[in-house]
Symmetry: C2
Subunit: 202 residues, 2 copies
Amino acid sequence: MKKGQLFIVSGPSGAGKGTICQKLVSEMDVELSISMTTRNPRPGEVDGVNYYFVTREEFEQAIQEGDLLEYAEVYGNFYGTPKKKVLDKMAEGKDVVLEIDIQGALKVRKEYPQGIYIFILPPSMTELRKRITRRGSDSPDSIELRLGKTLSEVSYIDKYNYCVINEDLEEAVARVKAIILAEHSRVSEQIYELIKNYKEEV
Amino acid sequence: MKKGQLFIVSGPSGAGKGTICQKLVSEMDVELSISMTTRNPRPGEVDGVNYYFVTREEFEQAIQEGDLLEYAEVYGNFYGTPKKKVLDKMAEGKDVVLEIDIQGALKVRKEYPQGIYIFILPPSMTELRKRITRRGSDSPDSIELRLGKTLSEVSYIDKYNYCVINEDLEEAVARVKAIILAEHSRVSEQIYELIKNYKEEV
């Protein structure tokens, strides 16, 4: 059976990676990687759907067992990507999409360099500033901090396989879909199986 | 301006690479590479459309000037891929598709390893035998020779970037299109230009 692949969709805050990933999941046969967290569920959040909600002890155990592709502490809560859950889905033939910030993607890359790394870029810094401002969740100072962070993090783009500029959402989604489809056609071990069959046929 | 790329569509005789290339040209903004030949034009063939028709002296000069990505002699006539014509189109921002047999693709790869190499495979040897037989241009002996050649040439697949199995033509074309689109999103020098602009904006 064909093994699934891991597609890491990453980029600066405001580039639109979340929206792109939601569209991928609804329009293609891919599954979103679900994070593990120690924070409490918010009303309406479901375990195993929005997050895997675990205790701090369970999270620390996962770290010690090497079962996290990456993790980080944010405001006293831990968040991480469960390795086994991802690998299990791939073994079942499912492609997995992991939406993650740039620092997280760099950590995942150390653990799983054979993933496909896609960098989502805004068309310009002016547009990025507009999008973050429109969101309304950041103060002017915090917006400038975010933009500065983007400028420094964008230099990690050479650690990625692909780069998609999110100017028009539909076009950006079409490009990421093309990347996923193209990666299915990579010359890989599975093709050697097919060729072996050829030889047995003749 | 965005530079074009060279996509080499190759594979055994009967895999369907010709039909796929014709569809690519009619459905996408790509140009087919036109071969140079010393053979005489057949009725209806137009210079610069079907082939570049040249004299033997002109062909030999092209060889000496290193202006051929590959060439071969078939039944006393020379056939080759003009390098400058391909590079000029790419410089104009056009993607170029080169349909070529496996031996030819391997020669092109030595001259131009940065091309994107796509191997078109038949779904099975049984199906390949059917297709060649249906064509009616080969004797039973010659069909077996072709199949034997396919079996040995298929081992060169690891020199290719992608492999597309042509079971259903429409699906195979969709896959090659996805490869072309995906390669446009490769992290490349052009992206570094964009990032430079970011820095100037802020």
